[in-house]
């Protein structure tokens, strides 16, 4: 018998603290597999966010540093400029990237920093107890919008990927999800491209991953997969939002 799928070398054996059915574990694995496949484990530096993934440095078997809430793109900018031969990526949630760190994210993209950002969007602040995030859907119930998000007082779900796509500095932006094996394999392909872009010095790449948060959504892990399909994807459509490679060829 031959082992064909097992824990990648870039993941430690530590049991993660995520809730049952959380999408973070899948995204961690995809990143670890991509790093193994590209053979860059010894020269990769990750920047962990504040949020549920705050302990990501315990799960990845390569160098990972921690940044203040929302500031991973700024920290990654510093690391990449001092050590340009390393592969530097940030791993951020929607509270971290689209709320507290909006300024850092927008300006890192606008400067066209040669870094990779993996943006995990689950539409809530998970770690603090399921409060409303800027990405929360209209009418979605959270602990701070118990009657559902009302756009009159709380605005609309922010499509940060589309917004960053408008900036001249960004090179590659794609939105994917991990709610089925097929979508998970597609997500891995996007993450791999985002890392390859950095290795080829192309510039700022961001992959937004729509991810499950069954606890904060008040559903079970299996229903959470359908929740993404039925509620999140209509608001946050999947696909390539910007790819300068394709634009150059006239395909996008």
């Amino acid at each position: 018998m031959k082992k064909i799928f097992s824990r990648p070398e870039s993941l430690t054996a530590k049991r993660n603290i995520y809730c049952s059915g959380c999408g973070h574990g899948i995204v961690h694995r995809l990143i670890a597999e991509v790093i193994d496949e590209l053979g860059i484990r010894e020269k990769t530096i990750g920047v962990a966010p504040v949020g549920c993934a705050v302990f990501a440095y315990d799960y990845w078997n390569f160098d990972v540093t921690e940044a203040a809430h929302g500031r991973p793109p700024a920290v990654a900018t510093g690391i990449k400029r001092v050590l340009p031969d390393r592969v530097v990526f940030t791993y951020q949630g929607d509270g971290d990237l689209a709320a507290i760190g909006t300024a850092e994210t927008v300006h890192a993209a606008n400067r066209g920093e040669n870094i990779t950002i993996i943006f995990v969007n689950n539409g809530v602040y998970g770690m603090t107890g399921g409060q409303m995030a800027p990405t929360t859907l209209i009418a979605q119930k959270t602990t701070t919008t118990p009657l559902g998000r009302d756009p009159k007082i709380a605005g609309y779900p922010i499509k940060i990927s589309e917004a960053l796509g408008q900036l001249e500095g960004s090179v590659y932006i794609e939105r994917v999800t991990v709610n089925s094996p097929k979508n998970t394999i597609k997500a891995k392909r996007a993450i791999k491209k985002a890392f390859q872009n950095q290795i080829q010095n192309k510039g700022f790449s961001l992959v937004e991953v729509l991810s499950m948060c069954p606890i904060a959504w008040g559903v079970n892990p299996v229903e959470a997969l359908k929740w993404i399909e039925q509620k999140m994807i209509p608001v946050f459509p999947l696909g390539v939002i910007k790819d300068k490679d394709l634009t150059a060829k006239g395909n996008l």
Binding site: M1, K2, I4, F5, R7, Y18, S20, G21, H28, T184
Partner: protein
């Protein structure tokens, strides 16, 4: 013919592997693991074809997939 090995200490019983197994070879155990979840259990009846869909969806990377040699 293949098989999977489930790390029952890491499994959190989310059932994502159960619903995606095309041959329904995974169920939740009656027993509890140290963290208090009913972990997934493999039904080894020789039908597993090592497709790896369970591995793709496991948020805890608790599944190892093995493939048998061709006869």
């Amino acid at each position: 013919m293949g098989k999977i090995i489930i790390n029952i200490e890491q499994c959190k019983g989310c059932k994502l592997c159960v619903i995606f197994c095309p041959k329904q070879l995974i169920k939740l155990s009656e027993k509890l693991n140290p963290a208090g979840y009913h972990p997934a259990e493999f039904i080894d009846n020789g039908q597993c074809n090592s497709c790896g869909l369970c591995y793709q969806m496991c948020p805890d990377v608790a599944i190892e997939v093995w493939k048998g040699e061709k006869r």
